[in-house]
């Protein structure tokens, strides 16, 4: 346990070790540690940014969904309105068409009635002529009296 040169030897050793550590060990280790710290911090920041963006995207998606829902509702409303309009139009069209058909039918009926009346009148005239012919037999000259009978027929017709 004597104090001797070992003291100085130990001091020199100490300084050499400290110098070596300061020069070759501490700086690379610290730079590696700091760089990793920075990497991790960057990674965390990126993750946070990603999460933020995801939140924004979700909000945007919800908004888009809401918009499209309201648009769809509008489209349906419009379609319903248009359908109602089309039905109304069709109803109107069919009513006028029905009226037109009715009018045409009436006109045809009138025509038919007139024609029947004319026919009837002609038949009545010939019937009357035949009847008169039967009654008068030969006493009546068909040629002489046909003018008279035609006049009578036209009188009936006008009367």
């Amino acid at each position: 346990m004597n104090i001797n040169l070992t003291l100085i030897g130990q001091s020199i050793t100490f300084f050499v070790f400290v110098w070596f550590c300061m020069k070759y060990i501490w700086p690379p280790l610290m730079s590696a540690l700091n760089e990793r710290k920075k990497h991790i911090a960057d990674g965390l920041a990126a993750a946070e940014r990603g999460q933020h963006e995801q939140k924004l995207a979700q909000e945007r998606a919800v908004e888009t969904l809401r918009d499209s829902k309201s648009q769809a509702g509008e489209v349906i409303n419009q379609a319903q309105k248009r359908a109602g309009e089309i039905i109304e139009e069709a109803k109107g069209d069919s009513r006028t068409e029905a009226e037109r058909i009715l009018i045409a039918a009436r006109a045809e009926i009138d025509q038919e009635v007139n024609r029947a009346r004319e026919e009837l009148r002609k038949q009545v005239a010939s019937l009357a002529l035949a009847g008169a012919g039967k009654v008068l037999e030969r006493e009546i000259d068909e040629a002489a009296h046909s003018k008279l009978l035609d006049d009578l027929a036209s009188q009936i017709q006008t009367g």
Binding site: I3, T6, L7, Q10, F17, Y24, I25, L29, R36
Partner: protein
């Protein structure tokens, strides 16, 4: 060296003697063959075992850490790199906590002090006879020397030369940075103008010697307490291991009991080994901080 012809006293003394290389009084150089011869060599002698183990352990530390530092990756670290980085982070946190100045020397010095002192202390946990008897056997076989004259102390921090060497180096750095940062005047002022001050110039003149006495003692106490704390703890721990080892030669019952004692003390000693390394490192940082900060 628990051969039967040795007494307990001789066994202990043998274990506490360093392998000393120096000049014999007759002028020849060589290893001391006894404690008395080592004493006669005076200052011009060197403890081969202390130097050997401290350098081996220091180089082991530097080699291991350099290996990691050379290929330190910023990606996911492997096992050894993780371990080294854990220690470095721990030292860095301690330095940031206690050291307020700016000096690129302090953190590497704290790392060196911590790991080196830890490794030197850790040699205490090796069974006390392993390495000394191996060296004794080697000496006897290779050189034909008497094993009882071959001394070998394995724990460098039980040699006051080692602890004083480190403490005085730290002290020298402390003085150097004190004067560098505060100037000679500032450093002298710190020694003489505190803690007692007075506005009266005459009273101040009386107070200066008192201040100097107090501050000088506290200044000198720093390296002394730093080295003696480590030395005392390690020396006492080593002594207890040696005492336990003596029990092995006192019959099988005592031997088994000694085995349990050694196990218990070794487990407890792991704490002391680490704690003393940590205290030495922390005080080094604190002293360096004192050298950098104004009071």
């Amino acid at each position: 060296m628990s051969s039967s012809e040795l007494t307990s006293g001789a066994y202990i003394k043998h274990h506490l003697q360093n392998m000393t290389y120096g000049q014999h009084p007759d002028g020849s150089w060589g290893l001391a063959h006894s404690a008395a011869e080592a004493k006669e060599m005076g200052f011009m002698a060197i403890h081969v075992d202390t130097m050997f183990w401290s350098i081996v352990l220091g180089v082991l530390f530097l080699w291991l850490f350099r290996k990691v530092a050379k290929k330190a990756e910023t990606g996911v670290p492997g096992g050894l790199q993780n371990f080294v980085e854990m220690i470095v982070e721990f030292i860095d946190t301690s330095v940031r906590g206690s050291f307020t100045g700016k000096n690129p020397l302090v953190a590497p010095m704290a790392l060196t002090v911590f790991v080196w002192v830890f490794l030197m202390n850790f040699m205490d946990l090796l069974p006390v006879d392993w390495i000394p008897s191996t060296v004794g056997w080697l000496g006897a076989t290779l050189f034909g020397a008497d094993p009882s004259h071959i001394y070998f102390k394995v724990v460098p921090s039980t040699d006051p030369n080692a602890t004083f060497g480190m403490a005085l180096s730290v002290f020298a750095l402390m003085l150097f940075y004190s004067i560098k940062n505060k100037g000679v005047g500032g450093f002298a002022g710190e020694l003489t103008l505190m803690p007692f001050t007075s506005d009266n110039k005459l009273v101040m003149a009386i107070l200066i010697p008192i201040n100097f006495l107090l501050e000088f003692v506290s200044l000198i106490a720093k390296p002394l307490s730093l080295s003696l704390r480590l030395f005392g703890n390690m020396y006492a721990g080593e002594m207890i291991f040696i005492l336990i080892a003596i029990m092995y030669s006192a019959g099988i019952g005592m031997g088994i009991f000694g085995g349990f004692l050694q196990l218990g003390w070794a487990i407890f000693h792991i704490l002391i080994v680490t704690l003393q390394a940590f205290i030495f490192m922390t005080l080094t940082i604190v002293y360096m901080d004192m050298a950098h900060s104004e009071h």
